[in-house]
Symmetry: C2
Subunit: 337 residues, 2 copies
């Protein structure tokens, strides 16, 4: 699979490991003291490891609501962690490539996030954090079943690995539904990453493993990689097929979206996804050469809480859309807002 196709389709990679400490109930049955104990024991374990200087500990209850939402927008924590915010905490490294949530569904959820297609690297990174804790703590582990988790669907490796894929051509040609059925037979799942229901905002999908039991981490990563190869190939074929059927009409549509990004004075988040998706497509087809994928992807950060943080104030939805349009212009001019 060519690098170009990977860059055109794969936005980012995530690997998440679910772990629980031995001799404690799962979080939903823990007392407040026990919940605090998990945080303290995780902090202590990390402090005794090679990664002792890597992480900053944040108690969610010490954050404002919008600070926590911004962490969700950055995918550093889950909405479920915020629901447990009175007891929950998160360790995040400086590069924001690793977050360790404490007090979600499981005691510990280690997550590694990397740009582009980097399943092996993300797994290595998650494993490194996992090992740092495991050296100094004891996980709930069963010789046959593997890592024990609050929900049986995570038991075994406790791993969920995923690739964020931009699939506009498979979406518009409705091939995505058929692909969804095909990957489910492999123990994988593909679903819209932003937006609700089956309507994937920006045509961004998350391809991940459903099955955690009976396969090694490396088996799962290989399965994901092989499946991603096929999806990427079909997406690229579909892109060129649409483009070649009417270059002017399709190119015109994509460049008009770029004109909107450059000149609109108000952009709501739904539009932002659409324009971003068209920009990404235009880059991949060589229609747009001014903007890089990296710059384009910065646009996806312009979500409500992040915009409030950048503006340094709360905003009405209308003010936010105006501010978003300004930030879009700044990013496209290669200046971070």
């Amino acid at each position: 699979m060519a690098d170009k196709a990977n860059e055109s389709v794969v936005l980012s990679t995530r690997v998440r490991l679910a772990r629980n400490l031995k001799d404690l109930p799962f979080p939903n049955m823990q007392s407040a003291d026990q919940a605090q104990q998990v945080i303290d024991r995780t902090a202590l374990a990390l402090s005794r490891s090679d990664m002792k200087n890597d992480f900053a500990l944040t108690y969610l209850r010490a954050n404002s609501e919008s600070e926590n939402i911004a962490l969700i927008e950055d995918h550093l924590i889950s909405p479920d962690l915020v629901k447990a915010s009175q007891r929950a905490a998160v360790f995040i490294n400086k590069e924001k490539t690793i977050s360790i949530m404490v007090g979600e569904e499981d005691d510990i959820r280690i997550q590694a996030i990397m740009n582009g297609r980097s399943l092996n690297e993300a797994l290595d990174l998650a494993n490194k954090a996992d090992d740092s804790i495991a050296e100094n703590e004891t996980y709930a582990f069963h010789d046959t079943l593997g890592y024990l988790t609050a929900c049986p669907s995570n038991t075994g490796t406790g791993m969920r690995a995923s690739l964020m894929l931009h699939l506009p051509a498979l979406t518009v040609t409705h091939q995505i539904e058929q692909i969804g059925r095909a990957v489910s037979r492999l123990g994988l799942t593909i679903r819209g990453f932003y937006g609700e229901g089956s309507q994937a905002s920006g045509s961004i999908y998350q391809l991940s493993n459903q099955v955690t039991l009976g396969f090694s981490e490396n088996d799962i990563v290989k399965m994901l990689n092989d499946t991603a190869d096929q999806i990427i190939e079909r997406e690229m074929k579909a892109r060129y097929s649409i483009y070649n059927s009417n270059k002017t009409k399709f190119g015109d549509k994509l460049m008009r979206s770029f004109g909107m990004l450059k000149y609109a004075m108000s952009i709501d988040s739904k539009e932002l996804y659409k324009f971003w998706s068209d920009l990404r497509l235009a880059i991949s087809l060589g229609i747009q050469t001014e903007i890089t994928n990296e710059t384009a992807d910065k646009l996806l950060s312009l979500q409500p809480a992040e915009l409030s943080r950048l503006a340094g104030k709360a905003m009405t939805p209308e003010e936010r859309d105006i501010y978003r349009a300004q930030c879009v212009k700044n990013i496209l001019n290669e200046q971070l807002p």
Copy 2:
């Protein structure tokens, strides 16, 4: 009336004088020889005048069809003159500010065209050409009625003076219909300049006198100027009223059209008028400061025959829309195509 408002609303001025030579039937009753006689006598009269070096004579039958259509697009000749192309000719000065059509409905139709609001100057210019012919020829003239014309509606001064007005706010608020009724009571008329029926493409209207008999040229010009003052004032009030009711929403709409002009890869003529109209509005409201009215108005020249001339070849409608989008970009970059 402030200059700014005039520049924002008045695009151009035209004055047309209808004249017929004495002792000849009107064109629709002329033999081919008589039609040629009118051309020869007009040429001779001009050659004996101070303007003898100003004009180039073009026989329409010597032009290609697209060359004649380009002259129509430039408003230098009328579609009716092209219908009579086997017998008709036109004298055009270098600056393209005066055209003298020979063999239209009347023997001679002198037309002066100027940018912006210049009724008196355009009348002076038309009069100068008129005098140049009259010094050396005898017009059909009646002491009581004035200049005699093929159609009685032009008899008297033979003059039709008009202002091209950009009235987007009066269009969208439907005040234009009421204004149409009001001006008709003054012997004036206002109608869409481009496009068919009442739907004025680009919200461009022509305000002109209907009545040619019983008023002097100067009376008519004064009436037009006074009426234009009121229309311009109402248009500017309506613009600010719409803009101030929701600056972001309206500004966003206008700037999105600008984004289309800058980035669309295909633009049809209907869209061009719309985007041009929004650009003009954005300039008048101070939202757009990058582009001048003068540059914006060059976009209006991008009509089918002119595009073929620029491209140096015939084009399909699809090719033309692509080429138009390229020419738009060139004009906006202040480079003539």
